[in-house]
């Protein structure tokens, strides 16, 4: 599904054929599929209205109006039948039920990056709250929205919460001024608190491994610390230096291949293919010899939220690799081998990395850097793929299909779907 201005276009994923077309009241700011893929919610923050469309019955419609309360965020509940709207100024979270038309309110939600977290199986929801300058976490049962547990956290200013994939442990970390991460069990007990250092800027990002065995914490000091689930103590510390000296890591460097244009064949007006090949440069990967020094960006010292530290963290679905990006070195993706706890591969790109995402089925990483190429890495090697389109197509983000066969590449105005061939075994 994609939305254009105030229209919602639903396409088939394999053929990109338009199946449905819906018109909303206003420009759509946010769109989300329900978990059973039967409904789509479109949120219009300016209007404070959420419209829900059904795929089965195109005539069915639903409109939720927040009125003067305003709307800041909206999302589905894991059962696909409730919509959680966050009102303006984070006054409250309203839970609208599509089945019973009933409303529930959650007071004092916290205005932070990741304030709401659902467990993977969709049973429980953790909400970060703040009352009287103290942080709390409430755990709700998603089936009937009953409050299960409510406990306070020892954080200064809770920044984010995330459930472990096994649904039993909740990680809560503090603002970047304090390096503190707290681990709570499902019933609200504090299992452990981890603090690496004081005073320096702290945690920037955190990610659980798919088996819930490891918790990777990326911090502003350009290091990733891995905690293990048995003792909740640090078992590894990954550094991201600007010079890679170890001979066991492979460094792939993106190198531009200048296209060879035969001047005799130039025709006037130039053909389409020729024009596109002239303007878009091919690139390929070269293996650089170690030691390699990467291009470093010095962050501005007196601004807030400096571009340093580990900003992006992602585990591969088979639990073998961890991909990170050090914001000091924005052109490189670092891939760590979790089985050996060592640096495995570094991908050095020509432009700054916008986003990367692992294939949900295999250890395959797709990277986009804002140009019209998408880069794929797997333990077998890496490849740079040019999007065959005329003109500019700057890929800003990408998203894999859940089967791992295709992915969506998004630019500012367009998107394209990239299908990957599956090898015949």
């Amino acid at each position: 599904a994609s939305c254009v201005q105030y229209r919602l276009v639903v396409r088939d994923a394999s053929t990109l054929q338009i199946l449905q077309l819906y018109t909303c009241l206003d420009q759509i700011q946010y769109m989300e599929w329900s978990s059973d893929s039967l409904f789509i919610l479109c949120a219009m923050y300016k209007r404070g209205v959420v419209q829900v469309w059904s795929l089965e019955q195109p005539d069915w419609h639903c409109k939720i109006d927040e009125g003067s309360a305003g709307l800041v965020a909206s999302c589905w509940s894991p059962d696909g039948r409730h919509i959680l709207n966050t009102t303006e100024f984070h006054l409250r979270i309203t839970v609208w039920s599509l089945c019973t038309k009933s409303v529930s309110y959650i007071k004092y939600p916290k205005a932070c990056q990741q304030g709401i977290a659902f467990t993977k199986d969709g049973r429980y929801m953790a909400v970060a709250e703040r009352r009287d300058c103290k942080d709390f976490i409430s755990i709700f049962v998603c089936s009937d929205w009953q409050l299960l547990r409510h406990f306070d956290t020892e954080t200064q200013d809770l920044f984010g919460i995330e459930w472990a994939p096994n649904g039993c442990v909740l990680a809560a970390w503090d603002t970047c001024l304090e390096y503190k991460i707290l681990l709570y069990s499902l019933d609200g007990r504090l299992l452990s608190a981890y603090r690496a250092y004081e005073w320096s800027l702290g945690i920037k990002s955190a990610a659980w491994s798919p088996s819930s065995q490891f918790l990777a914490i990326g911090s502003y000091d350009e290091k990733v610390r891995i905690l293990n689930h048995v003792t909740w103590k640090k078992i590894a510390e990954f550094e991201h230096p600007a010079t890679i000296a170890s001979t066991k890591t492979i460094v792939y460097k993106e190198v531009e291949k200048s296209p060879s244009v035969e001047t005799e064949r130039l025709s006037f007006p130039p053909t389409r293919t020729l024009a596109s090949s002239l303007f878009s440069t091919q690139s390929k990967y070269d293996i650089s010899q170690v030691p390699v020094s990467l291009h470093c960006v010095k962050p501005v010292a007196d601004r807030a939220n400096p571009k340093m530290g580990i900003g992006m963290l992602a585990f591969s679905p088979d639990n073998c690799f961890l991909a990170t990006r050090n914001d000091n070195i924005p052109n490189a993706v670092w891939i760590w081998d979790i089985q050996k706890l060592k640096l495995f591969v570094v991908l050095e790109q020509l432009c700054a990395i916008q986003s990367f995402q692992w294939d949900p089925r295999q250890p395959r990483l797709a990277v986009c850097t804002g140009n019209s190429k998408v880069y794929l890495w797997s333990p077998a090697g890496c490849v740079s793929v040019q999007v065959p389109v005329e003109g500019d197509f700057q890929i800003v983000s990408l998203s894999w299909h859940s089967s791992g066969d295709s992915m969506v590449l998004l630019s500012k105005d367009n998107f394209c779907v990239c299908y990957l061939e599956r090898e015949e075994v």
Binding site: S35, D36, F39, S54, D59, W60, H61, C62, K63, I64, D65, E66, G67, S68, A69, D79, G80, R81, T87, F89, H90, L91, R92, W96, S97, L98, C99, T100, K101, V103, R123, Y124, R130, D132, C133, V141, D144, W145, Q146, L148, Q156, D157, N166, G167, C168, L177, S185, L186, D187, W199, V230
Partner: protein
Amino acid sequence: MGDWKTITVPVLSSDSKTTLQYTSEKRLSSPGMNSQVLRLPLPSSKSTHSFFGAFCTEENIEQSISYLNRELTTLGFPSIYAESKGKELNLISIINCMNELLTLQHKNLRAQEEIEMQHLKLGSDMDHLQNCYAKLKEQMELSKREIIGLQERDRQLQSKNRNLHQLLKNEKDEVQKLQNIISSRATQYNHDMKRKEREYNKLKERLHQLVMNKKDKKIAMEVLNYVGRADGKRGAWRTDKTEARNEEEMYKVLLSDYEQRQKQLLVENAELKKVLQQMKKEIISLLPPQKQKPRERSEDGPVLSDPEEDIGELNKENMWELSCETVREQLTNSIRKQWRMLKNHVEKLDNQVSRVHSGPLNEKDVISREDHELETEKLELEIQQCKEMIKTQQQLLQQQLMSPCDDDTTLLLQDCYLLEERERLQEEWRLFREQKKNFEKERRSFTEAAIRLGLERKAFEEDRGAWLKQQFLSMSTDYKHSENVTTPSAFLGSSDQDNRLTKSTSQQRKAPCISNGPVSPEPWQTAPYMTRNSPASKEPAGDSKPSQWVESGKEETK
């Protein structure tokens, strides 16, 4: 004692005058003279009569003799006078005295030489020592200067060190101060933040109240129709029961997770324990049997019994299934002990190996070395033997190759042998080729014969058929012809021919490959002639009919 008067002896050298002067001087200054080292010249020659004259002249013979006597007696020599007090000289004693004096003179000269030598030596030693002394003094000066320099440097470095320590301390203090400042600022900020947050909360509350109070009708949800729940169940009311159920479920989830983890850990534990047990067994097997080497393991004596007992216990009772503290400790301790012993053993072996390279050794090493040596000797012998064998073989081969060069006949012989073989081969080839040709011919002839046989058979059949027809026709028309006369002959002949034909064909059939091949077509060829020659005979007899038919058929075809 009396003065040591210088008794000079006339010199052999040319400067006798100086010595004379010297002696006269000496004589004059007799009392002041003590033992002076003189260069006593060698005994005189005959050219110093004048010198003798200086001491003893014609006038004072007696005085000089008595003087000499006095001197000699004081020196301990016997008197030169005869026993009686008269003035008779004892020649013998005089000669003896002279001899004695001469020997004394010799001795003194020798002594003088020695003393001079010693003097020289001592002088050179003195020089040498002085030089050494000077050098050492220089060195001492140098080292003193060095020491001073080093001390100076040491002092400088120490002062630098102190400075750096001081700096470090300052920095640390600064860091501490900054940290304190940061912490105080942080608390201040927190306080301010809290204050602002409280204000903000108040505003939010206010806003919330306002929003709620307005009771906007707008805040509503418009749904076309209710949507069923995802799992098809109906919505339930929230009651205490549901709360309790939720709690239960939550705890169930937690418990199941913990149980799973515990199972995993148990499995891992069991595996690790198995591995440890295996390792222990292997280590024990690796170690040499300890009872045979008491001297190496004397210290570990009391310890020996324990691990063995432990091993026995642990192996027998399957203790790895239990997981209590003591068992775990026992297992780890026993493994550590075994590992230590193994390490010691390996170290000792290493030492022994290193000692082998250097020199005298243990019994064990001597034995091994001897073994080594024996083996190496054996191998060397073998190598030698092999080499010799190779050499002899090479020689023989050389001889073999080289000897024909001397004799042409042997060369020729060899050649002949080869030639013979070659010719034999060629003969055989020729024979083979001939046989091949013959076979080809026979085959061809056979095929031809077969073809001809076929054709003739056909012709024969046709002839027979025609003949029979004719016969039939003729039988009906000229029955009274006396053909029977001719026919029997013809029949006979034909039968004979037929027989011969059959015989030939059978012959042909039986022996196609024998070289009688070319013979066979002949009777066959003659047969048709015979049949042709025989008149178109007709025979009434039934037996002969088919044959005659055949014949006639053949005739016709031919």
